[in-house]
């Protein structure tokens, strides 16, 4: 006798979004740095930001700190990044 069952998994909800155009040069652009709050992550992202700035002539940086590594950045912080930064560095692990 056959049996019909239902699949127990789902997929991520797809949200429509557009990627920012890839800049031809980083010169004069603003870099967004997202610190996830893990130990020394502030030191690491700032160091990387400084190096990128020196090497590629970025104009400035915006620092955003997540409320905790478990949570996403706030709506306000996301809006600020979207408005002011042309590229963003995120994704810090242990």
């Amino acid at each position: 006798m056959t049996i019909t069952v239902l699949t127990p998994t789902n997929q991520p909800v797809q949200t429509a979004f557009e990627m920012a155009p890839r800049p031809a040069s980083l010169k004069g652009l603003t870099l967004g740095l997202i610190d996830n709050g893990k130990r020394n992550s502030d030191y690491l992202v700032k160091s990387i930001g400084r190096r990128l700035k020196e090497r590629f002539g970025l104009q400035t940086e915006i620092h955003v700190k997540k409320p905790s590594p478990s949570h996403a950045i706030s709506e306000d912080a996301a809006r600020e990044l979207a408005e002011k930064a042309q590229l963003i560095l995120a994704g810090i692990g242990d």
């Binding site: 049996i3 019909t4 069952v5 699949t7 998994t9 991520p12 590594p69 478990s70 949570h71």
Partner: protein, 348 residues
């Protein structure tokens, strides 16, 4: 009218073939599951008065949503009965609250389990275990409710996110109920009425058993517990983390005889579960050099007495309590208590 379900259905020659496919696709926790048929899933939704598309929770950081239909499928698979489903629903709602921080809890290398403590009249209705063999196999409600929530996390939250180094057996299932006693139940301490049924979820290390068969005084029992609570290797030393504590009936009897309340227990343990900063430095929790005043500065396992969740449960024989250190820090996750909505078919 029968509800329409949206999940893809698959036909198999027999239940064995279905089971093997579920194993192969990584849809189980490594143990056999009950094949989730449409009829069973509909019965679960009916028991909780839910529509298939109702959203019970989500992990927004992963764009993952928990619909009632998908949660019911996983509850069927876990071996739940339909009447358990309202508890599973409440637990899924609880872990989805932002303050529980489910994304971190379920991805962290620390491998927290989801401790669920059920309180209120529903415990008796479902014949949940609050006694002997409390955290061990044997009771269907305890075992399958806890397992259902873990399957939800794996199948709907995305098992690929779980980066646990070791984990612990409580990640299969970790659901208990609290005994009724002269003490205030956990859900009442957390603001609900005694008549309300509720589930409290807590991101938890595995249980640390604490034996003390000789102590005649409450303070002596609690000193033993405090000693276990201040272990250097937990997140509790040096961070603001909650702590769950199960007091066994024999230890409870010694405490209640001397009229110790849960609050008294919390205050005493908060004061005594501590160690000097020098100890933390010896363990490298702080790598700065030890200075003389470090021997006089004290760090507490919990920042405030209310951060200890005190639960009375376990077998009547044996003076074994247990404590469960919390996960990472309270700002990333803290315990959530959620009322269980019970639905009466045909009622108002």
């Amino acid at each position: 009218m029968k509800q329409a379900l949206v999940s893809e259905s698959i036909e198999f020659e027999d239940p064995d073939q279905a089971m093997e496919t579920f194993f192969r696709k990584g849809w189980t926790d490594g143990l056999p599951v009950v094949p989730p048929t449409e009829e069973k899933v509909l019965r679960f939704l009916g028991a909780a008065g839910l529509a298939s598309g109702d959203i019970l929770g989500a992990i927004p950081e992963r764009n993952r949503v928990f619909t009632a239909e998908k949660v019911a499928i996983n509850a069927v698979m876990a071996g739940c009965l339909p009447e358990y489903f309202p508890v599973v629903v409440a637990a899924v709602r609880a872990i989805s609250r932002p303050e529980f921080g489910l994304h971190g809890v379920s991805a962290s290398t620390a491998g927290a389990g989801l401790l669920m403590v059920v309180n209120g009249p529903i415990c008796r209705e479902l014949a949940m275990n609050d006694g002997q063999n409390l955290m061990a196999p044997g009771n269907r409600a305890n075992a399958t409710i806890g397992r259902a929530v873990r399957l939800v996390l794996y199948n709907l939250g995305g098992r690929e996110f779980d980066r646990t180094t070791l984990g612990h057996p409580g990640k299969y299932t970790f659901c208990i109920s609290e005994q009724e006693s002269e003490w205030e139940p956990l859900h009442v301490m957390r603001g609900l009425t005694p008549e309300t049924s509720a589930v409290t979820v807590f991101a938890s290390e595995g249980p640390n058993q604490i034996q003390n068969h000789s102590a005649l005084k409450p303070e002596s029992i609690l000193n033993t517990i405090a000693d276990r609570m201040r272990a250097l290797g937990s997140f509790n030393m040096g961070g603001d983390v909650e702590f769950a504590l199960i007091i066994c009936p024999e230890h409870y009897q010694t405490l209640i005889k001397e009229v110790w309340t849960k609050r008294d227990v919390q205050v005493y343990l908060h004061g005594h579960a501590c160690r000097p900063v020098a100890d933390l430095k010896r363990g490298g929790l702080d790598e700065t050099p030890i200075v003389p005043e470090d021997k006089e500065k004290w760090v507490h396992a919990v920042a405030d007495p209310s951060r200890i969740l005190v639960i009375m449960a376990g077998g009547v024989a044996g003076r074994f309590s247990a404590c469960m250190p919390g996960w990472f820090n309270r700002h990333m996750s803290h315990a959530v208590t959620e009322p269980i909505a019970q639905f009466c078919a045909g009622g108002t």
